[in-house]
Amino acid sequence: ETLASERERVIERSAMAEKGEDVKLLGFWASPFTRRVEMALKLKGVPYDYLEQDIVNKSPLLLQLNPVYKKVPVLVHKGKHIPESHLILEYIDQTWKQNPILPQDPYEKAMALFWAKFVDEQVGPVGFKAVVKAEKGIEVAIEEARELFTFLEKEVTGKDFFGGKTLGFLDMVAGSMIPFCIARSWEGMGIDMIPEDKFPELNRWIKNLKEVEIVRECIPPKEKQIEHMKKVAERIKSA
């Protein structure tokens, strides 16, 4: 980035702060759902206050702002509070128009929403929880997870990012969930879930992600997260 554009961003940020555009984000450092919201806020150049939450002993603030699900992340903006990471990403995209996150074309947008739902509702649980539990044995668990990754491999083929030339909604969702969350659990378990020879496109996408500054700023520290995922795995196994 040039000095001029960096200066523009600083000016814009102070203008926003003056307008009372106070944005607060309640989150948890290891939560992919929180991290993707941070990616979006950084992409848009929106300054925000980050409030780290204890997700075991939940604060009165969290319970007040997300009474239905009692979960992070929650975005607070102009007195309104928005839960659920997908909703927050879309809210951010519609409120701050620079650097669009979601595709403009209705069909492309529908695809992005579809795959994002697939990542969070299928890939996440099958790629992590099911592997930890390995009810039918670890080999089967890995095979079933890889079946899902095959869909994503196809989706990103020939593209720098799921969003095309630049980072988009699905990249933030899949990026926060896969390489920078559940992959840390695979590393902890000694599993090579998406080897380069079987998933060249996904691996290329991960390399591309790591080169984006705002993504790098939103990756939980590796060793700390591997330990965290091990603890979560223990809880799952003993449940």
């Binding site: 239905v68 879309e90 809210y91 209705p106 947008k109 929403l113």
Partner: protein, 262 residues
């Protein structure tokens, strides 16, 4: 009367008389030059599915003619498997042969593609949109699950627990309705929208469950606004033709939930 093809189970709803019955009297004509909206529209689904009902209501609200491709219960067509290889589920919208899956995503797609036709299905303000989507997701993830659990519940204790959960959800939705509708008849205001469709599509199944259990799940005393809303929803011309008849649905429910012979 809908023209019923002898080949397969397709119902052609682009028949002029049926279409005029379905549309609002002052819906603007579709612009022929509207590139986004051009292309044949088909919907793979089944009459009894609440998820399938959602895009049907949306297409009616937008006056979009479509071919309804009914799946046979118990089997999945080649077209369905090809169009939704990930989930292999209905509904699937095919627009110029491009598939769109997941009922709420389809409704949003319909709203954006035919934006110049009929009412807007989603609010325009970002926060209001977020809330509409939030409650729609809640309805699928929590409310409907409680309804399904009620059907499956055995024994007094389990039934009591499920009812409590369900009524808690109803109370939330009653409040959400008051917040979203701002005094108007629908969650979306003057016209049916995304959230109305998401909840309204379950009303027929709700009625069937009430009959089977002899229990009022939607009670005027507890959720007066929701009950009024339900009435408005069911009587809307975009909804009536695609809302399953309670008796027919009850028969169907008996068939699919019949316990297998020991």
């Amino acid at each position: 009367m809908p023209h019923r093809s002898n080949i397969g189970k397709r119902i052609n709803v682009s028949h002029p008389i049926l279409l005029s019955f379905l549309t609002h009297s002052h819906a603007p004509k579709l612009s022929v030059s509207d590139k986004m909206a051009s292309g044949e529209v088909k919907l793979i689904g089944a009459w009894a599915s609440p998820f399938v009902m959602r895009p049907r209501v949306a297409l009616n609200l937008k006056s979009v003619p479509y071919e309804f491709l009914q799946e046979t219960f118990g089997s999945k067509s080649e077209l369905l498997l090809k169009s939704n290889p990930v989930h292999k589920k209905i509904p699937v919208l095919l627009h110029a042969d491009k598939p769109v899956c997941e009922s709420n995503i389809i409704v949003e797609y319909i709203d954006e593609t035919w934006s110049s036709s009929g009412p807007s299905l989603l609010p325009s303000l970002p926060y209001d949109r977020a809330m509409a989507r939030f409650w729609a997701a809640y309805i699928d993830e929590k409310w409907f699950v409680a309804l399904r659990n009620f059907l499956k519940a055995e024994g007094e204790e389990e039934k009591k627990a499920v009812i409590a959960e369900f009524e808690e959800g109803n109370a939330l939705l009653e409040k959400a309705f008051i917040d979203c509708s701002k005094g108007k008849p629908f969650f979306n205001g003057d016209h049916i929208g995304y959230l109305d469709i998401s909840l309204g599509s379950f009303l027929a199944w709700l009625r069937v469950t009430e009959l089977a259990a002899s229990y009022k799940l939607l009670d005027e005393a507890k959720t007066p606004s929701l009950c009024k809303w339900a009435d408005h929803f069911c009587n809307d011309p975009a909804v009536k033709p695609v809302m399953p008849e309670t008796a027919k649905l009850a028969e169907f429910a008996k068939k699919i939930f019949a316990k297998p012979q020991a």
